[in-house]
Amino acid sequence: MRQTFAKEMLNVGQIDDRLVVLVGDISHFALQAFAKACPGRFYNVGICEPTIISIASGLSHAGFYPVVHTIAPFLIERGFEQIKLDFCYQELGGNLISVGSAFDYSGLGVSHYCYNDVALIKSLPGTQIVCPAMPNEFTTIFGMTYHNSNLTYFRLPEVKHGFNISDDKIELGKAIKLRDGEDITIIAFGPQLKTVVQCETMLRNLGIDFELIYIHTIKPFDVKTISDSAQKTGKVLAIEEHSMYGGGCDEVMRVVGNLMGVNAKYISIPNYFVHGYGKIEDHYEYLGFTSQNVLNYCKQLLGLK
């Protein structure tokens, strides 16, 4: 996804001379093509994330479309007050593009994990949040939004879900129904679509007719698609690599909470720090982002043993 990001900056930057990219000493080499094609519009500013956010707001105030790119905890958690006051409160548009959210830097510990970036940005007025997990999801939505008056956060994951969705079905704020079903609605956010797709055969073997909804945009949230599906099936399972507080699963629970007779559960990151290292798969296993866990939750919701 990082290479996709770099290519998209090059593509858009060649068309629009108001695009400026600021990075906090990451992706420097990947962005060299942009730097060469768009002289004066690429800055590897240094290791000073709050300042980079404020500089980007100044660029926005003076008519540019800034992109700030670095690792999620430093971009969002360290720069949060600057995001709140210098972009959102001042009603300035811009783009924050992270890598290394959730536990993508799986071997580096909690300083490099970021469980609540979506919650933080979601809490601010004037923001949009996109969690693409395939290249065309990022390029399609970035192309639609990079120049609007909102602050848009793109959370680029390490793992792609691998499911091909055509460009014409990708739209900011629109959930995508990938499978019709009657028994239960499964809602997958970003890379966790991969986990759900991996258990498709197991679900079918149990005779579970599941409806599958994929979500790449958390704000604005597609309430109608979720609501319609939940009312139809009466049972909802959501799965997302984010803190149990404030992410996409929270949005699902808010929608479902307004509906009568719908049971819902979610798989997300519990409210504690994971002190483990290892590979992403180790974190998946520890936190329950597995096909077997999806299957277990579905069985619980359906009352199956």
Partner: protein
């Protein structure tokens, strides 16, 4: 020392029941000279593309800026009369979405300088001549973002950027700067030291910045007095965020009328 603007500051803050009088007195001469003689602006078209920018980073001193904006026609006396009201455009920290001529909403310290760096960078990219001025407090210079920005501005050769430090020493009670001029010099800036209440010195320093030929950003360390102009306000104590009662108000005006 501009007594007329000081009286307006006290009148407005006393009526509105909110504000920082000594901080505003500390910087009002700097802002007045900047707008009177150096800043390029069009108050009937505040977003004029060829304008210079002024960012008040120490937002709590905003009354000094409000009275100057009123003097030059960005806002009206009626706006000042509504200061502090829920429906007014003016409050205890400036809001750029509401007030013509305010370039940045500030309040939390350490934001205005990096925003100004971004504005200066934007005009450098476009090879424009717009200048960017930003006023920070010496207490604000405790913030890490000030020094991050100072390093970035030097590294990017933002020579159309001028930072004015309101060096009233208030924060020195807590954590003094051993040598603030040397600090800025060591970050690669042109440094000018002046008295921040003497019009001629302010004017000359701003002329020096505008005629600067090297590629460094410039900083003007303006030695100021918090509460300058009224003896009992000239301290670092209770008056920082105090609203005068009628007797105190009368005493302030009496001193300013001398």
């Amino acid at each position: 020392m501009n007594k007329l603007l000081r009286k307006k500051i006290v009148q407005t803050i006393t009526t509105g029941g909110e504000g920082h009088i000594p901080s505003s007195f500390s910087i009002v001469d700097l802002i007045d000279v900047l707008y009177s003689k150096h800043l390029k602006f069009n108050s009937t078209n505040p977003t004029w593309a060829e304008r210079d920018y002024f960012v008040l980073s120490k937002g709590h001193g905003c009354m000094a800026l409000y009275v100057v904006l009123e003097k030059f026609g960005f806002i009206t006396q009626s706006d000042l009369d509504q200061y502090g009201n829920f429906d007014g455009i003016l409050g205890g920290h400036p809001d750029r979405t509401k007030v013509p001529g305010i370039e940045a909403s500030t309040g939390s310290l350490g934001h205005g300088l990096p925003i100004a760096v971004g504005i200066a960078l934007a005009h450098q990219i476009r090879q424009n001549e717009n200048r960017v001025y930003v006023l920070v407090g010496d207490g604000e210079c405790h913030e890490g973002t000030i020094w991050e920005s100072a390093l970035v501005a030097h590294n990017l050769k933002l020579n159309h950027l001028c930072c004015i430090v309101d060096y009233n020493g208030s924060a020195a009670q807590i954590m003094p700067h051993p040598n603030i001029s040397d600090q800025w010099k060591s970050f690669g800036w042109n440094v000018l030291n002046i008295d921040g209440h003497t019009e001629d010195e302010i004017d000359k320093a701003l002329c020096t910045f505008r005629s600067n030929q090297n590629d460094k950003p410039s900083v003007i360390i303006a030695k100021t007095v918090k509460g300058k102009g009224v003896s009992f306000l000239e301290s670092h104590g209770i008056w920082h965020h105090k609203i005068p009662n009628q007797l105190e108000y009368n005493a302030i005006i009496e001193e300013l009328d001398k």
